[in-house]
């Protein structure tokens, strides 16, 4: 399987990245946690990259290090040729695993949040917010508060809030983790539309193998903690794909391959995470 024929321009780069959460002294003393790495990865501009891995393997840590929300313990991260460390560079948008909508603002004002701060002209704010709201299918809910929406819709609000800022790298941390499988596949179509329209590089974290297999150009399969890429699979899907490829033979092959790689890792994460973690350190 060959990756789609895009001109390979490195958009973000991780070199020897490791993240160890330091020990917490005091009352409930905790040992240091080796959560991630070492990881080497080049994200190609415009590609859709998915990360799959067992729960607790360090996926969110990976995303936060890439975004500049956490400093790597060792190694380096760069975005568009500039080093990232300790702060989030302009051009990166993040949608978090937890619901991060603002309950005190309407959908409209949630989405406008970042723009209003950046001193964008009012007319331009309105145009972009309305566009993002329409794109995410929230038109009828612009005046609603997040509490009036379902969990999936709240995540769409967060996606729209990221989208209006026109990020060139979009990081999505299991945005649909709480949804049922069918709705998740449909939301996958929306993410694909988003990716195609914005031309941004998209990195999606998920624990659902089918989701990764359906959406991504490349899939990084992560080991149990400390998370490392044990394999990176190129799917070779055309750019204008959608959830109907779930019926194709290649889809079954990809998910099968992923499961083969991740089965033992998931077992480790499930049964013996404590033991294996100590052995790894």
């Amino acid at each position: 399987m060959n990756a789609a024929p895009v001109p390979r321009e490195v958009h973000a780069e991780l070199k020897g990245v490791t993240r160890i959460y330091p020990a917490v002294p005091g009352a409930g003393a905790k040992l240091p946690v080796h959560a991630l790495g070492p990881i080497d990865l080049d994200l190609v501009r415009g590609e859709f990259f998915a990360v799959v891995g067992p729960s607790g393997c360090g996926k969110s840590t990976f995303l936060e290090v890439l975004a500049g929300l956490q400093k790597p313990t060792a190694g380096s991260v760069s975005f568009e040729g500039k080093p990232v460390g300790g702060h989030v560079p302009e051009g990166i948008g993040v949608v978090f695993q937890e619901d991060a909508s603002f309950p005190w603002l309407t959908v409209w004002h949630n989405v406008a949040f970042g723009l209003r701060r950046n001193g964008v002209a009012a007319a331009e704010v309105r145009r972009r917010v309305e566009d993002a709201i329409a794109f995410m299918g929230l038109k009828d809910f612009a005046g609603a508060y997040p509490s009036q929406l379902s969990g999936g819709m709240r995540q769409r609000v967060c996606i729209a809030r990221t989208l209006v800022l026109q990020p060139r790298l979009i990081l999505l941390d299991e945005p649909f983790g709480a949804l049922d499988a069918q709705t998740r596949l449909l939301m996958g179509d929306e993410v694909l539309r988003l990716w195609r329209r914005t031309g941004a590089t998209v990195l999606l974290i998920t624990h659902a193998l089918d989701e990764a297999a359906m959406l991504a150009d490349r899939i990084g399969a992560m080991s149990a903690r400390p998370g490392r890429f044990i394999e990176i699979i190129a799917t070779g899907w055309p750019r204008d794909r959608d959830s109907t490829i779930v019926g194709e033979a290649a889809f079954g092959e990809i998910t099968g391959r992923l499961w083969e790689r991740l089965r033992s890792e998931s077992l480790k994460a499930l049964g013996h995470s404590g033991v294996s973690a100590m052995a790894a350190e």
Partner: protein, 255 residues
């Protein structure tokens, strides 16, 4: 909504019935008028008192004191809450103190304050703030604790500074808890000021009630009590209304 108004109606009926029963008991002589006067008499006595204007200075003094005590408690309590929240060790040290604060009658220090500051406004302000401020501190800590961690990350993705994060994200996220603190601070401030005046003070509505009581002037005493009840009810109704409006927004009007 229909259920709400229905409960509200029942509430009104209960209150009206109690007042009616008291009125009846007083009028028929079941209750001696030297102990309690009829509610209608209280109201007319209050009306005369207010119309005479003799109460104006005391009203201004007492309500002004309550306002001052409440405002100081809210502002200082909020600031202290933020500072303590930022210093986990200090907080750990203070936690048991906060947990038991209202188990101790802080009020017993009022005579001490009078001994120190003399019979001025100062002891009342201090005892009022001492009574009200801790509720605001606790509410602020509580509110900040419940600001979801993910909001900090959102702030950093939007590259907000410390102050912008505090004002645009943490403050609104903690607002419902802060409002609880404000309501408590108002109540405690009210109680402390009136009680302090009642015990020892050169002037004020609390002092008026104490004087009327000492003079066996029931009409005046009950008129003043009625006045304070009305003021306290109004303040609480306004705060409750605001609270309901905020809550309705956040819970999508389904509360």
């Amino acid at each position: 909504m229909a259920i709400m108004t229905r409960i509200g109606l029942i509430r009104l009926v209960v209150i009206a019935a109690l007042i009616g029963a008291l009125e009846l008991a007083c009028r028929t002589g079941l209750i001696d008028h030297r102990i309690i006067i009829a509610p209608s008499e209280m109201a007319s006595a209050l009306w005369t008192l207010l119309a005479s204007g003799s109460l104006d200075a005391d009203i201004a003094r007492t309500l002004g004191l309550i306002g001052l005590v409440t405002a100081l408690s809210i502002v200082l309590g909020f600031a202290a809450g933020i500072a303590i929240h930022a210093l986990p060790r200090l907080r750990e040290a203070l936690d048991p103190f906060f947990a038991t604060y209202y188990a101790v009658p802080v009020f017993i220090f009022y005579p001490v304050l009078i001994a120190i500051f003399g019979l001025s406004l100062m002891p009342i302000v201090l005892i009022g703030v001492a009574t009200a401020i801790v509720a605001m501190i606790i509410a602020t800590l509580n509110g900040l604790d419940r600001v979801p961690r993910v909001l900090d990350k959102v702030a950093r993705v939007h590259r907000l500074g410390r102050i912008a994060t505090a004002l645009q994200l943490q403050l609104p996220a903690a607002a419902p808890y802060l409002f609880t603190g404000i309501k408590l601070a108002v109540s405690y401030g009210f109680i402390a000021v009136i009680a302090a005046e009642f015990i020892l003070s050169p002037a004020g509505l609390g002092r008026d009630i104490a004087d009327a009581y000492a003079d066996f002037n029931n009409r005046r005493m009950y008129a003043l009590i009625l006045f304070l009840l009305i003021v306290a009810t109004l303040i609480n109704a306004v705060l409750h209304g605001l609270d309901m409006r905020f809550a309705a927004r956040r819970s999508g009007g389904r509360a």
